[in-house]
């Protein structure tokens, strides 16, 4: 990393934002909380604590030593995957490990999670050392409405039936495109809903309920499973 420090003092292009310091800090603190939650001392717990402390120290070093982040795309990519690996380690920490020379249920997950942690650290370090194309902008509108529309479908299908759930979901999803027009969307949603009714329950004979349940009431809505 010595090259990095030199490059920054020479004024090479790099980005270090609040996000890039906060992210390792938060993930590190979460790992330490994870260690605390695992309770009894185990190798997994120790690993979590070690990684947590390492990440916190790293976040501090980012600020103090003014380390540059040359390619935020790889930096965040590696960092969050590292976080996922730590989370998986934590989630599998209650599973029994090796018994004699036989693998236990926890051996595989912990093994793979450790390798993933190692690889994601490499990705992160590469992201700090080499110049990259930079972070692409996130569009919020498409992903937001597509996710929301899908959730609408998931929450409504059991109690409101296929017709209403599909219609509402299509209208929500359509809001994800800046080119959608209201009247057109409503008509199109009605057409598609009709098509869905013809295809799924009728042609494919799937057991889907078409209309709202008789027992539908305000108190049962939240119980969508």
């Amino acid at each position: 990393m010595s090259e990095g420090v030199q490059a920054s003092s020479q004024g090479a292009e790099y980005k270090r934002t609040i996000m890039s310091v906060l992210s390792p800090l938060v993930i590190g603190l979460l790992a330490i909380v994870g260690w605390y939650k695992t309770g009894s001392s185990s190798v997994t717990g120790d690993a979590l604590l070690g990684c947590g402390v390492l990440l916190v120290a790293f976040a501090v070093a980012l600020v103090v030593l003014r380390w540059p982040i040359r390619d935020p795309r790889d930096y965040y990519g590696g960092l969050f995957l590292f976080g996922v690996a730590l989370f998986m380690l934590w989630a599998s920490s209650d599973l029994p490990g090796m018994r004699g020379f036989a693998f236990g249920p926890g051996t595989g997950p912990r093994m793979f999670a450790s390798v993933l942690a190692g690889l994601s650290l490499i990705v992160m370090v590469i992201g700090m050392l080499t110049q990259g194309p930079g972070l692409e902008r996130y569009a919020w509108r498409g992903p937001f409405f597509i996710t929301l529309g899908t959730l609408v479908f998931a929450v409504m299908i059991r109690q409101f039936g296929l017709v209403i759930a599909t219609f509402m979901s299509i209208v929500t999803v359509s809001a994800g495109s800046s080119e959608s027009r209201w009247i057109e969307t409503l008509i199109w949603a009605a057409v598609l809903t009709g098509f869905a009714v013809l295809v799924f329950p009728i042609a494919l004979n799937l057991p889907l309920q078409l209309w709202p349940q008789q027992t539908l009431s305000f108190s049962t809505i939240l119980n969508f499973r």
Binding site: S92, F103, F112, L192
Partner: protein, 501 residues
């Protein structure tokens, strides 16, 4: 030889039953219908259409899926030629000359030659699959758990080496896939792993949820970022059939493409993409006048299209004989087979010959369908391309949502799909390839099982993977490949660092 013929006869007997014929036709049609949508490749298409095959008998479902696969691939070529948008990586090269031909008013011959080339390649590759299936199966029977594990490692490394972009990132994606596959009940003890007491997670994360989220939903989110300006060729499609000189020019190109594709398809990890690129480059090398390429040379369409179809076909060989999917599309096929209670591998051929040979025969049939049905329907596909995206994507989303829900009648699966859609979007933004992840996800349980068994047999001694000759050989090849792939990257990165100094 007589065995081969008898087997093929059995296969065609199965495939030509009216019901299966109908499934194949329907699959090819629907596959093209979805695959022709810009930005929706075969992977996304198969992921979206998987649920509709669940109600069918296993043979019918697999035949329909094979039809969908070929249909989707052909749909991808159609958009490459007409709109200059490749539906998938394998048809990127087709855009180079195909779209130029379309602009010169020769969209018809370009589409036709791509179907004819694909059909020829498919025919040759079908025979190859049938011929190689039996001998490879007998090799597979020599494999123990250690060999299987090493073979899967090799397959995954192949996928990593041939994936575009960073090797380390592709490796990380495989590991992420392996991790996700561990969620749910442990195979040996039945203990619930990493499922956080959510009842729907006890069975593990659904394969369709991951595939549809990461490929289907994420794809749509990405497509919505770009405003839709599409360069649809407006000229009327006249003269569908290529002329005699066209055919004469293409015949050797199709032959070479088929040969290259068949070989590359068998290799794990490679498949259609590499085959198409290799065939195009090769054609350019052997051409008398290489400058014609990129300006509408018909060989530039014929060779890669034949190659990617041949490769698509022969990539069934490792799947059907060894039970190991060589690429992400085949991984989807494994998922579909498992849902129908079929464990892919050498035993499929001996225990369910009508399934094995029926599928091989239906591959050929699927190809034939493309020529017979899809080509005359080109006009319809073109009209479909003119439908604005703002109307198309809600329809796709609707089918996905209902499809996922109908697998288990579980709203939770739909929520998971939405979550994986966001994951896929994030991965794309950070330049991670989702395909190796899917491969890892499918191979995960198999790998863990074989690893555990091998270790148990060797009484906990990990050197068993190196002392058994076949296993050691496979691992050596894998290591070598990884080194070869990593070397240039390390050198280049180091150069970059030094340049900055």
């Amino acid at each position: 030889m007589t065995d081969l013929l008898a087997n093929l006869a059995l296969g065609f007997g199965v495939a030509f039953s009216p019901a299966n014929l109908a499934f194949c036709t329907l699959g090819a049609l629907v596959g093209t219908l979805i695959g022709v949508l810009p930005g929706v490749g075969p992977l996304a298409t198969i992921a979206m259409l998987l649920p509709i095959t669940f109600g069918l008998p296993p043979v019918g479902a697999l035949i329909m899926l094979a039809g969908i696969y070929y249909g989707a691939q052909y749909g991808g070529s159609t958009t490459s030629i007409l709109v200059n948008i490749p539906g998938e990586a394998a048809s990127v090269v087709t855009t180079l000359d195909g779209h130029q031909m379309a602009r010169q008013g020769r969209a018809g011959p370009a589409l036709a030659i791509s179907a004819i080339g694909s059909f020829f390649a498919g025919t040759v590759a079908t025979v190859l699959v049938a011929a190689l299936g039996a001998p490879l199966t007998s090799i597979a029977l020599l494999f123990g758990p250690a060999e299987y594990f090493s073979l899967m490692v090799l397959g995954l490394i192949f996928a990593v080496v041939l994936a575009k972009g960073s090797v380390v990132k592709a490796l990380a994606m495989i590991l992420l896939g392996l991790m996700l596959s561990m969620v749910g009940s442990d195979i040996e003890t039945g203990q619930s792993r990493m499922s956080f007491d959510i009842p729907e997670m006890a069975d593990g994360i659904g394969f369709v949820t991951v595939a549809m989220g990461v490929f289907g939903f994420a794809e749509i989110m990405r497509n919505l970022e770009h405003t839709s300006s599409r360069d649809v060729v407006n000229a009327k499609l006249t003269g569908l059939m290529p002329t005699w000189p066209d055919l004469k020019a293409c015949a050797p190109a199709i032959g070479r493409g088929t040969l290259l594709g068949s070989i590359l398809g068998i290799l794990p990890g490679g498949g259609a993409v590499i085959a198409a690129f290799a065939a195009y480059t090769f054609e350019k090398k052997v051409a008398k006048d290489p400058s014609r390429f990129g300006r509408g040379a018909i060989e530039g369409v014929a060779a890669p299209e034949s190659a990617n179809n041949a490769a698509a076909q022969t990539s069934f060989i490792p799947l059907l004989t060894l039970g190991i999917p060589p690429n992400a599309v085949m991984a989807l096929m494994v998922g579909a087979m498992t849902i129908h209670g079929i464990v892919p591998g050498p035993q499929v051929m001996t225990k369910q010959p009508e399934l094995f040979w029926g599928m091989i025969a239906s591959m050929w049939l699927g190809n034939a369908m493309l020529v017979v049905i899809n080509l005359p329907l080109v006009g319809v596909w073109v009209r479909l391309l003119r439908v604005p995206y703002r109307l198309l994507y809600p329809a796709i989303m609707m089918f996905c949502a209902i499809g996922v829900y109908s697998i288990n009648n579980s709203p939770f699966d739909v929520i998971m799909t939405a979550a994986f859609g966001l994951v896929g979007y994030w991965l794309a933004k950070h330049d991670f390839e989702p395909a190796p992840m899917l491969l890892g996800f499918v191979l995960g349980p198999l790998m863990e099982e074989n690893l555990r068994r091998a270790m148990l047999i060797a009484r906990g001694d990990p050197s068993t993977f190196l002392t058994r000759p076949i296993s050691a050989g496979l691992l050596a090849v894998a290591t070598l490949l990884l080194i070869v792939a990593l070397l240039p990257m390390i050198r280049q990165k180091r150069d970059e660092v030094f340049v900055e100094d």
